[in-house]
């Protein structure tokens, strides 16, 4: 009968059970010890940071202090081109080979740049680290920037700018930095219109020569051994020594930029000078940001914990959004409020948001302070959950301070912020010289001196 005939086959099937039995027989379990982040500084000035998290996938990044703040007036937009030129031909491999080589091992190569840093990162399976590391080193130390390849980037630059123009937030924030600072931090992340096809191979080579030096770079790895990274750093990443051209100190000036267009939603941000990265004041500003409200925690909810949101809801019945804006750079920062409102209600919304910040100068309740600290801790810890976030945190800390602070240390620092610190931070915003950037139908939007 069919059923009984099938039974004799049972011993040849049951694969999962057979495998499970084999595992029980194995004698030793390899015990993996949890590792700490190791940071060393090589004699050339290069920082090496790594964490072996035993993950099957590894991620390696080269962090360079060569963000758009280091652009000079003659080469505005060169970092945008560099961002797009990561896959171009290098001395060791052609563009085609880099693309296919990285694809062949299932990895990916990417570039991110901020105002402070440029980050070249590769990720792939642990076994293929050698291959992708070779391409990464090629791209960061020996690019050729062949003139025809660089001029072929022009359509991509235009595409990037068009995509950025789609989101009003990008325009407002770039405009804000342009208005708030006289130099360095006023440079835009995107290539200015007049430089779109004018940035050429020489500009890029000069920028690399002056800014991609060992003392300003950090080699960071997740899921790799520290010694491997050290070896790579010593052998390959010490081509240019020294500090390169020193960046200029950012000078805050406090200005206003208004972009009148037909949009019925007005995006507006009002800031004054904040705190630099790593200072205690910066921590106070971050806590203040969460006291005031830094984005909804429940989608489509009523955002009850956000002071800004509750305050502005009394000023207008139309849809709006209000959140605290906080940026920290190596020598300066910006703190303020970002509001999105209907064009007729823009003035009311902005004034209501600013008065909420004024209210905090009078003091913040214990409950609000604890809530804000918890939210800040949660946000930081959750950003470390992904490999990109963790790599970013390790690299930025290695570059700016040379030390990696464990999440516990950061949580302690957050806890040590007192209510007076937060009130002082709010005071600094209220009394400081304001900068403002707005876009949309600006008929009812106040000027910065009318707030």
């Amino acid at each position: 009968m069919k059923g009984i005939r099938g039974i004799s086959k049972l011993s040849t099937r049951l694969y999962a059970a057979q495998v499970a039995r084999k595992l029980d027989v194995s004698v030793e379990h390899v015990k993996f010890q949890p590792q700490e982040v190791q940071v060393t500084k090589l004699p050339s000035g290069l920082m090496i940071a790594s964490l072996d998290n035993y993950s099957p996938g590894s991620r390696i990044g080269v962090f360079v202090k060569a963000g758009c703040r280091y652009e000079s007036p003659e080469n505005q937009g060169v970092t945008h081109l560099l961002r797009l030129a990561a896959n171009l031909t290098t001395k060791g491999a052609s563009a085609f080979r880099i693309c296919r080589g990285v694809e062949a091992v299932g990895g990916s190569l990417g570039v991110t740049s901020s105002r402070e840093n440029m980050i070249y990162s590769v990720d792939c399976l642990r076994d293929h680290i050698d291959t992708v590391m070779e391409y990464l080193i090629n791209v960061t130390t020996a690019p050729e920037f062949r003139p025809w390849e660089v001029s072929d980037l022009t359509p991509r630059v235009k595409m990037d700018k068009a995509l950025a123009a789609q989101t009003p937030q990008m325009g407002v924030i770039e405009g804000l930095h342009g208005a708030a600072y006289k130099n360095a931090l006023s440079n835009s992340l995107y290539c200015p219109d007049y430089m779109v096809s004018q940035v050429d191979s020489d500009h890029m080579h000069n920028f690399i020569q002056n800014n991609f030096t060992s003392a300003r770079m950090a080699l960071v790895g997740l899921g790799v051994e520290h010694n491997v990274l050290k070896q790579v750093g010593e052998q390959f990443l010490n081509i240019r020594s020294g500090m390169g051209t020193a960046g200029t100190k950012a000078q805050y000036r406090g200005g206003e930029v208004r972009v009148q267009n037909g949009s019925s939603l007005v995006h507006s941000v009002v800031v004054s000078e904040g705190a630099a990265v790593g200072t205690d004041e910066a921590m106070a500003f971050s806590v203040l940001q969460h006291v005031l409200g830094a984005g909804p925690h429940i989608k489509r909810g009523s955002n009850p914990t956000s002071k800004l949101f509750q305050g502005v809801a009394k000023a207008t019945a139309d849809p709006f959004d209000a959140s605290a804006f906080n940026s920290n750079y190596s020598d300066s920062g910006l703190f303020g409020v970002y509001t999105i409102s209907q064009s007729a209600a823009a003035g009311d919304v902005i004034k209501a948001a600013i008065s909420q910040v004024k209210a905090v100068t009078g003091g913040v309740s214990e409950a609000d302070l604890t809530r804000a600290k918890t939210q800040l801790k949660a946000e930081y810890l959750m950003s470390l959950e992904s490999s990109e976030g963790l790599l970013d945190a390790m690299g930025s800390q290695a570059l700016s301070g040379g030390v990696y602070h464990s999440p516990e240390a950061i949580a302690q620092k957050i806890d040590s912020v007192s209510a007076t610190d937060v009130a002082n931070a709010a005071n600094k915003f209220v009394s400081g010289k304001k900068s403002m950037a707005s876009s949309g139908n600006l008929i009812k939007t106040p000027f910065v001196d009318e707030i």
């Binding site: 060791g92 491999a93 070779e134 062949r146």
Partner: protein, 130 residues
């Protein structure tokens, strides 16, 4: 660590004008061979209308790509020589002896770019076989 692949290096720096590398490529640079080559160059006749060897190369897709990569000055000089040659050809005239391109002046400006284009094409073909 892994070793790097070295592509053909191309001298882009000084406007693309090379020295006469091809003369040293050959083992036999005896006076007989050189004088034969000179005779052949003059017999070919394109120097009489002011052209260089790379001006006369047939334009297939590789050459077109290599021409696209020429620096602007080299490309403009090439265009000038071609225009002058077309003009002379229309007039059924040749240049006077002093103005003709001499064997020693002839620069193979396109050669490094063409070599690079062909190398890249071969690399793509190799990878597509895999």
């Amino acid at each position: 660590m892994v070793s790097y692949q070295n592509p053909v290096s191309h001298q882009l720096i000084d406007g693309g004008m090379l020295l006469k590398e091809w003369q040293t490529d050959f083992a036999t640079t005896g006076r007989l061979l050189v004088s034969f080559r000179k005779w052949y160059y003059n017999a070919a006749g394109f120097n009489k209308i002011g052209l260089m060897r790379d001006d006369t190369i047939h334009e297939d897709s590789d050459v077109k790509e290599a021409l696209r990569r020429l620096p602007e000055k080299v490309y403009n000089d090439r265009m000038f020589r071609l225009k002058r040659a077309l003009d002379l050809s229309m007039k059924q005239a040749v240049l006077p002896k002093e103005q003709r391109t001499q064997y020693e002046e002839d620069v193979h400006y396109l050669e490094p770019y063409l070599k690079e284009v062909i190398r890249e094409r071969k690399e793509v073909e190799e990878w597509s076989k895999k």
